[in-house]
Symmetry: C2
Subunit: 474 residues, 2 copies
């Protein structure tokens, strides 16, 4: 038998012989009924002890590949024939109802020269030294029972700190038991969808709106009802009566920008109460308010217990923390905790404990004060540039908060995706408004990650591109 | 007007007045058309500046609660009446198809005196100082682009380290692109279920088996087909032909213990190929092997690309790491990455980078060698105790790996849940076998978290309880 055994490799020699024989069996070089050489002979050929070969034979026999026949030697069994792998085929494919393929994420692209990408905060503002110290303290040996499985709702001190933060900053009244800590907004939406969305249910989303929410609900078999948005936010009267769930971004409509007006807020709550609808209030970047006093949250206005409030630290701090939360009525608490157990068990308790300290010790408030100053300046420069440099092409959409602004093309025949593509090729990266749905062409300008000094030059460069190319007709 | 304003609280006085007025409006103490006192009067009453009161009034006016009537003062608007919350009702409830409520987790109970709980490793073996150093290094400012959103498949160096680890220790051949890093086994199963399980699909699970897998698939609308388990593992011939997905634990059947025999492995793969079925191989605690050489994994035997391999660091290291992975055929990669984006975006990159170093620098191998020694001793004591002390009542189920063993009651009329309850009251915590499904009463003994010196006394105490109570009939 021609047995190739590489005895120079790491690992014991018996295993090398075992693997070589197994390869021979699985490739068909050794077939059912073939007789193996006596251990003494193979040991001699390979220059190893007889015992080394015998161990390999015994292991293959224990696994059913070899059998000893009395007085006749060792043979390959019938079982061995059937383990020969065919070419490893591409046999599995997603279910017929699965339509979502991954979207390239911001971390996979190099930072553009003029970075108006949406939803990216400035990580250089985050106090990493403090954070590292806090996390390291929570990773000391034996802290937080690391061998056992933890509460799916999250670390109680963090839930308490979130409640205090929401009460002070957002007027949201909640009990720590109403809070479930998540890995961010997306997981909060996912848990809500699990427990509320039955296949076939109608889910109303803003159009234009947050694509990952829409795709998530669709992945659970929901019928998506896109509802238009205007300068007062979601057009509540256009929500279909048969909706079971409404997803909205009242503080800073994503991506268009306006807050949902008080009248609309009250109308939405009235609608929800009348039609027994659940409302998700996604308050993703309201920490950065620059002009008006904020309106009351839907959650604070809601007397009927129909609003689920969702928040994140991805914008107020950084996405790398993977931290967000939801605040839900007590009647959903058990189901949401169960959903979390089924989804991924629970989150990192040391990280949650560190974040609890970060909030309770005033470090979040300090960071927000500092970040508001920086983002406020970038926002002012962006708005100024749109209104001064780009006014001929674009009309700013008023907003009061957040890390981005939108502007509509004055010429409704402009293909915004084409403009954004041309600009990106010149290093000016914005997002085309229609990529979020809706029909009005426009551009969305994130200023969280834009270098302050790059904003005006970036918008001037965009102006040059727009002047040169002229608006393209569809 | 009797306005209670607590000016001792933190925050500015104007906000305190705003809140007090808002409370009065929302509670109905101030109704539509009510006139507010002039700012000068209220300022005098409260001992604050007129400007402070005016700011609060302006904010309420901007929000639509107050209006100024020319020459007549400031009045509560009509809008205000409708914001009065009714009693915050329990209006939302889970969808009709939602049945799962959370299960109490090990971290929520105090450690028992005789701790035979299942699935809990000994966290005192984990090198926390090393881990803390590794994590802290990855949290240095600016590492890993913390402001942007990362690859849903996970940090590439960790995927590479997992591939090398699997090739060496499990004979699993994979490409880093086949690997998706998750928060543990449960999230791996969840992502697989999202992309493979259509409502109404039949999913075959082991019975007794892993409850969270069964509940997860059911939550996606699957019809669950429980398939019996015997001393050779899953009884493959009992899998219904119409199954679309099979969930199995071949190395160490959970919870019963035996490995899936080679014949059964081959039969399962043949079944999967013939019926175009996907197979999940959950290899949750195979790192701890104590007797036989391991059988080849299903993944390694699979020539048709029908097996998805799932692993976790919750048992080999500690659950607190929230780290696991799946290895799937390339045809599922995009869908699984998309599912991860919809589920929770991506995982913590600093944690994944730290774990990559832990694996690549040989620290996992070192930990496993040390842990195998400790667990091996505990396993031997547990098996010895069952066979020596408890032999009259229980019959050990043979197994070769893992952190628990099972034993069947010799008297099949024993109600194992009752016995486990009696024992738990005496500090001896085991898990009743029928709580995992199936019909055979038995007890499952975890030894991962059991103090070595407590094992024999714990089993002796259990013997005393069994002798005293006698087997209880159903």
């Amino acid at each position: 038998m021609d047995l190739a055994v590489d005895l120079s490799a790491r690992g014991d020699r018996s295993t090398a012989i075992y693997r070589a024989l197994l390869d021979a069996i699985r490739s068909g070089r050794l077939g059912s009924g073939d007789r193996l050489p006596p251990t003494r002979d193979l040991a001699g050929d390979l220059g190893v002890s007889r015992n080394t070969v015998a161990t390999a034979y015994e292991r293959l026999a224990a696994e059913g590949y070899l059998e000893a026949r009395v007085g006749a030697g060792t043979y390959v069994t019938d079982v061995a024939a059937s383990v020969r792998p065919r070419r490893r085929a591409a046999a599995l494919s997603p279910r017929r109802g699965w339509h979502f393929t991954p979207v390239p994420v911001s971390g996979q692209a190099p930072k553009p020269a003029y970075d108006f990408r949406v939803g990216i905060p400035d990580a250089s503002l985050f106090p990493f030294d403090t954070w590292r110290r806090l996390v390291a303290a929570e990773l000391r040996a034996g802290a937080h029972s690391p061998g056992t499985y933890a509460d799916p709702a999250g670390h109680p001190p963090l839930r308490e700190a979130i409640v205090r933060y929401l009460a002070l900053s957002r007027g949201v009244g909640a009990d720590p038991d109403d809070v479930l800590v998540t890995h961010g907004t997306q997981q909060a939406l996912d848990l809500i969808a699990r427990v509320l969305v039955e296949p076939g249910d109608v889910v109303a989303v803003e159009d234009p709106g947050y694509p990952f929410a829409r795709e998530l609900f669709a992945s659970y078999g929901a019928h998506i009802a896109p509802v238009p948005v205007d300068v007062d936010g979601l057009v509540v009267e256009r929500i279909p009566d048969r909706a079971r769930l409404v997803f909205t971004t009242p503080s800073h409509q994503f991506p268009l920008g306006p807050p949902l007006s008080l009248e609309r807020r009250l109308a939405l709550l009235e609608f929800a109460d009348r039609h027994r609808v659940a409302v998700i209030e996604d308050d993703y970047d309201s920490e950065f308010r620059f002009t008006d006093r904020p309106l009351e949250t839907l959650h604070a206005l809601d007397g009927a217990g129909r609003v689920i409030y969702v928040g994140t630290f991805s914008k107020s701090l950084v996405p790398a923390l993977r931290a967000g939360y939801l605040v839900a009525p007590p009647t959903l608490h058990a189901a949401l905790c169960g959903a979390r157990q089924l989804a991924d068990g629970y989150g990192s308790i040391p990280d949650q404990a560190a974040l609890a300290h970060f909030l309770a010790d005033g470090m979040l408030a300090r960071h927000l004060r500092r970040a508001r100053t920086v983002y406020g300046e970038r926002r002012a420069l962006t708005i100024d540039g749109i209104e001064r440099v780009l006014a001929e092409h674009l009309e700013l959409v008023p907003s009061a908060a957040g890390l981005h602004v939108s502007a509509l093309f004055r010429d409704p025949s402009v293909v915004d995706g084409e403009v954004a593509g041309l600009a990106a090729a010149e290093g000016v990266v914005t997002e085309p408004l229609t990529s979020y749905g809706g029909e009005r062409p426009g551009l969305v300008f994130g200023y969280g990650a834009a270098e302050t000094a790059s904003i005006t030059p970036g918008l001037e460069r965009l102006r040059a591109i727009l002047d040169l190319g002229g608006p393209r007709s569809r």
